[in-house]
Point group: C2
Chain length 125, copies 2
């Protein structure tokens, strides 16, 4: 089994813990939270405004999963009122770079994607 | 607005059609179907066996979305019984490369992720 096959074996393995780490960063809200945090450190409410459309509960769950995986650092300062800030860890920053490469590629090729959709809809629609 | 800001603006825009193209390739089954197709051309049932755990309906929907976006090519041969084969288009191959870079990175850093989870669970658990 070469490195390529071994990687595929892991990806396809539902029991492999990398599967849910991957899902945390590629999920709809995970991607947006990671992208937002590449812009800097955010307090919860500011991040919620940045990730337009996310509910308080979903943002909280998303950040918790990303913090647990070590992608996001949560800094709670012992002041009144409480001040909690979120930022990417070095691991999170490197992961965000890979995500960005994918996002940027899809953005760049959007005209081709739109053209494929039109062709598909003409034949099947 | 520089290119970086413009990219972010698009990613965060729920109305941008790149958003759902991105979701098609990063969705749970989209990733697995794309990864499987990097191995070559598959007939429907063979692909279903390769992407372990996917239902017939989900695979059908996943392939349809990927075909419509131009990531996957569907080749129906006019023979009896019908023979339908799926493969990556050049656009799909390039997208799969970016996906692979992300997947490979998360795989490689799994020990760090697992260690972060243990530390998190010790404090919060």
């Amino acid at each position: 089994m070469d490195a390529h096959q071994q990687l595929l074996a892991d990806v396809f393995d539902r029991a492999c813990p990398s599967r849910d780490a991957l899902e945390h960063v590629t999920g709809r809200w995970g991607i947006l939270a990671m992208m937002a945090l590449t812009e800097g450190t955010f307090r919860f409410n500011a991040l919620r405004r940045r990730v337009d459309g996310i509910s308080e509960k979903m943002l909280s769950q998303t950040l918790q999963a990303l913090e647990r995986d070590g992608f996001v650092h949560r800094e709670a300062q012992p002041v009144i009122p409480p001040k909690v800030e979120y930022s990417l860890t070095p691991l999170g920053e490197q992961t965000a770079e890979k995500l960005f490469a994918l996002v940027r590629f899809v953005e760049e090729r959007l005209p081709e994607i739109m053209s494929a959709r039109r062709a598909y809809d003409e034949v099947k629609g």
